[in-house]
């Protein structure tokens, strides 16, 4: 399977199964509509005849030779022979945990998927140290031979339960040697309670920190509000700058959400860059379609244009030596994840679980509050291995829409929670998310292709 598209004046061809990415001329772009394996010794006459209206015969024939060579090298029209590996997609050790240390929040963001902190459960709760300790023990005991254990302190707002965050970090560290494992603690915060002491602890202990902010003040404050209805931008911006600076701008993200209210979100990305941040993530809102801020299919053309605009902004900045990283355009075409990881996807419910203040285990933070997806409880030692197996089998070959999609090895079947929330089934792709994802990938690949084209031009000079 190949996927070809034109973007930003470039003709790009992706060989889906090998991951090969090719920048091609107009002739190749056209010839690829007319040829496919098995290839003949020479370009078929009917193809030559058809294309001779536009191109010279000699060029058509030499182009055919190049296409054939790439096919023989296994980087064009390569076969999909991964399904056999999918059969081995079985329950894995649990290596990552989203720890909802605080099921309460000091903000009332309009679009919050956690219903402003309580996950729609109607009760606001803190995790006590004993429950958190049992959760870390669960991870230590169920992680098999995995050495790196990931724990994200999440909420609600985790800084509202700061002492427990600190004690759990210390507890985790105290058990590492005995188990021969290493905790990678991370934290996702809205910044409201950040102070020097917390920032120093985070910078010392957390391998990544995600700081929530949506971009421009007016955009952020329209939806990210305090309990009294006022926005939070002024309260958090300087704190974020100080924290990022103290960790040398390494291993952090400022992370925002875009909604129908800011379909010009490239301006928010740029705003965050202009404030000094170079690791930026701004993501589409997850919400009921009926909400006024919800993204719908009607918004797709605007979203697509905006991603293209953003890709060009990034390229232009790069040319000026001003590099910044946009999370959803990150793509390492040479050393990205292996094919097996790409088959399996995010690992929710299998390698990755979320634990609530009451000790309930869910496949991930987005499933919290859906009773049918409660996998067990840390306190009573229950854990639904059957459900774990179901999630292990939620790979790209068990998702009908994904099997035939060109983007399958990049999104890996998408977000199981999004699928469930929007379609009622973790195996049924949520079309809107897919369309947005595919556009992001096209832009991300285009950025790589544009840089390669510029390098090739320089080399030719």
């Amino acid at each position: 399977m190949i996927h070809k598209y034109k973007l930003n004046g470039l003709n790009i061809v992706l060989d889906v199964n090998s991951g090969g990415v090719h920048l091609v001329d107009e002739l190749t772009y056209d010839i690829l509509d007319n040829v496919e394996p098995p290839f003949e010794e020479k370009c078929p006459e009917k193809v030559v005849e058809k294309l001779m209206r536009f191109y010279a015969q000699e060029d058509i024939e030499s182009c055919y030779e190049e296409v054939k060579e790439l096919y023989n090298d296994g980087i064009l029209f390569s076969e999909d022979d991964y399904e056999k590996f999918a059969k081995y997609s079985v329950a894995s050790p649990v290596k990552a945990m989203c720890l909802l240390v605080e099921q309460d929040c000091n903000l009332r963001c309009e679009y919050c998927f956690a219903s402003t902190g309580d996950y729609g459960l109607g009760k606001r709760m803190h995790m006590d140290f004993e429950t958190g300790k049992k959760a870390l023990d669960f991870l230590l005991e169920n992680s098999g031979d995995r050495e790196n254990l990931e724990v994200d302190f999440f909420g609600g707002e985790p800084l509202m339960n700061w002492e427990v965050v600190k004690r759990l970090t210390e507890y985790g560290r105290s058990r590492e040697k005995e188990y021969g494992k290493r905790f990678r603690f991370t934290i996702t915060t809205n910044g409201m309670l950040l102070d020097d002491e917390k920032a120093d602890f985070i910078n010392r202990e957390m391998s990544n920190v995600v700081m929530s902010i949506d971009g421009r003040k007016e955009v952020n404050d329209r939806v990210r509000k305090r309990v009294d209805g006022t926005g939070c931008y002024d309260r958090i911006m300087d704190k974020y700058k100080a924290l990022a600076e103290k960790r040398n701008y390494e291993n952090y993200y400022v992370r925002g959400t875009f909604t129908k209210y800011n379909l010009d979100f490239s301006k928010d990305v740029l705003h965050l860059y202009e404030q000094g941040f170079d690791q930026i993530s701004v993501e589409p809102v997850t919400s009921e379609p009926s909400q006024s801020y919800a993204l719908t299919e009607r918004d797709l053309p605007a979203i697509f244009s905006e991603y293209e605009r953003l890709a060009n902004i990034i390229l232009e900045h790069d040319r000026q030596g001003k590099h910044f990283n946009f999370f959803h355009f990150m793509l390492d075409l040479d050393q990205g994840p292996c094919a097996i990881k790409r088959l399996r996807g995010c690992g929710s419910g299998n390698e990755y679980v979320a634990v609530t203040p009451e000790g309930d285990i869910y496949p991930c933070h987005q499933f919290v509050g859906y009773d049918e997806y409660k996998m067990g409880n840390i306190n009573d030692g229950t854990f639904n291995s059957e459900m774990k197996n179901d999630f292990a089998k939620a790979h790209i070959y068990s998702k009908e829409d994904c099997k035939k999609c060109w983007a399958k090895f990049y999104c890996s079947g998408g977000c199981n929670a999004n699928n469930f929330i929007y379609t009622g089934n973790i195996l049924t792709a949520h079309k809107l998310s897919c369309e947005i994802q595919k556009k992001r990938l096209e832009c991300a690949i285009m950025i790589k292709a544009a840089k390669a084209a510029e390098e090739a031009e320089k080399a030719a000079e």
Binding site: S92, N148, H328, D334
Partner: protein, 45 residues
Amino acid sequence: MKHIITINKANLKKTAAKGGCGKCQASCQSACKTSCTVANQKCEK
């Protein structure tokens, strides 16, 4: 080549046989939390 520039060197197929060690980060733990992109993770083998 005159008509085609291949911009990457890796072939995903070569990663299948020895892949799946599980050392890499869980996709949702980095920055997304709501929209999964696995291909932007790093191999840590």
